[in-house]
């Protein structure tokens, strides 16, 4: 049975092409195996290149995500939620997610929103706090406010899966 399961996961990993499985990248803590799929990102990507440009491409998105994760970890309200998280993996998967949704040329290999936020105890006030931290990071990067909100409109429906049930 366990052999069969391993085989399935090997199969899943090989489906993603060459490289390490998404749950065991070098330098990251391991997570329970899962099947990578862009649908796990929780939103469909924007059409065209406009949003990727507004966010200054992959470099800009990486700066925004790094700033957001660092600021969230240091935040007096939501810092606790990030305290025991693998920041290396978190930055990578959020970068992939944002990059995928902004149509900046990435695939998302992280877990889905319900699985990745399970048991974190996130309340509505935490979600809104994170939105404000992200808004500051986008403003620091020089992303226009209207483009910020367009992006947030893709993230907003994820709240259902993110909140503690």
């Amino acid at each position: 049975m366990s052999f069969l399961v391993s085989l399935l996961f090997l199969q899943a990993a090989s489906d993603m092409g060459p490289g390490t499985p998404p749950y065991a990248r070098p330098g990251e803590e391991s997570v329970d195996p899962y099947v990578a799929d862009n649908r796990n990102a929780g939103a469909s990507p924007f059409d065209g290149e406009g949003m990727a440009k507004a966010f200054h491409g992959q470099d800009g998105i990486r700066r925004i995500v790094d700033t957001m994760v660092e600021a969230s970890s240091a935040d007096p309200v939501i810092g606790e939620i990030f305290a025991n998280h693998d920041k290396i993996r978190l930055k990578r998967t959020i970068f992939e997610q944002f990059c995928y949704i902004l149509n900046a040329g990435c695939s998302y290999t992280g877990r889905d929103m319900a699985a990745s936020h399970k048991d974190l105890g996130i309340q509505k006030a935490d979600m809104n706090r994170l939105v404000e931290v992200l808004q500051r990071a986008m403003t620091t990067e020089g992303v226009a406010f209207q483009a910020q909100n367009r992006f947030l409109s893709k993230l907003a429906p994820m709240r259902r899966d993110v909140l503690q049930k």
Partner: protein
């Protein structure tokens, strides 16, 4: 009417006391996004300046209790108006509000035979329930229903000018949504009312002495986290033969000075008020919310 009020109170009590999944957790106050609690409308309900929105007073989420307090000044051509009030929000679900309104007739008071600087005043107690949806998140827009009990303190005068009563109840339903993809907030309200100029000139009149259905709306464009600009419209009944009543308009800018303080400046057109037309001027409000 008595029955309606007790039924409403009973329903409110039921909702507050009903066990909720989050009730096991300690209360946690604050947490709304900036500006999403709205400002305080003239009658005290959270929303725009002229009309309620389907949002609940205070900065709390469904995990807490919130509070707001406001002071409003309106200076139009011949009159000035002040109101002040407080509102409490329970779990971003139920809002209870109180506002005291004061309307000064200045020199027109003399012309109307009331005496210079004669002032009308009114107290408004409101209740609002967000029955479904959310302003920002989820599929459904925020949907709320509410009632406002208004008591005019100048009963003799308002009856003398033709009003049938010095107290009345408005009933309303609002739908509000912030469309993030466009940074635009739209809100619409349908109101059943007998009030003449909010009730400042009493309720009902020689032309009509029953509730009529009125429409109100707000549109706002969010320019930054802290700043939104927009416009509002409010249709009005026309119950009094001697004093025509016009629909209201405004154009506003609301700015979150700090997390707990919102300042609103508007240019407003109230049309004809108490027999004198062309009442346009400035609306200014400071609101503190926690």
């Amino acid at each position: 009417m008595k029955f309606t009020k007790s039924a409403l109170a009973l329903a409110l009590t039921g909702i507050v006391l009903a066990p909720q999944p989050s009730a096991a957790r300690p209360l946690r106050n604050g947490g709304k996004l900036l500006l999403t609690n709205g400002i305080s409308s003239l009658e005290g309900a959270s929303g725009g300046g002229l009309t309620p929105w389907a949002v609940i007073a205070g900065n709390e989420t469904s995990d807490g209790i919130g509070l707001s307090a406001h002071g409003t000044l309106v200076e139009v051509k011949d009159y000035d108006y002040q109101s002040a009030g407080v509102a409490v929000g329970f779990r971003d679900r139920i809002e209870i509000s109180y506002a005291h309104q004061n309307f000064n007739t200045n020199d027109i008071g003399t012309a109307l035979g009331l005496g210079k600087d004669y002032a009308f005043s009114q107290d408004v107690i409101g209740a609002k329930i967000r029955v479904a949806g959310d302003l920002v998140y989820d599929h459904l827009p925020a949907i709320a229903v509410g009632a406002q009990y208004k008591r005019n303190n100048n009963g003799t005068i308002v009856r003398a000018i033709g009003a049938r009563d010095n107290e009345g109840v408005d009933y309303y339903a609002s739908v509000s949504r912030l469309f993030l993809s466009r940074s635009i907030l739209l809100s619409a309200t349908a109101r059943l009312t007998k009030a003449n100029q909010l009730g400042i000139l009493g309720f009902g009149g020689d032309l009509k002495d029953s509730h009529s259905l009125q429409f109100e709306g707000s549109a706002a464009w969010q320019l930054s986290r802290r700043l939104a600009i927009g416009g509002e419209y409010r249709s009005k009944p026309d119950n009094l033969g001697i004093a025509r009543e016009d629909d209201w308009f405004d154009a506003f800018a609301a700015y979150a000075v700090k997390r707990h303080l919102t300042a609103t400046l508007a240019y407003t057109d109230l049309g004809s008020v108490a027999t004198v037309k062309g009442q346009r001027g400035i609306f200014l409000q400071l609101q503190a919310a926690f």
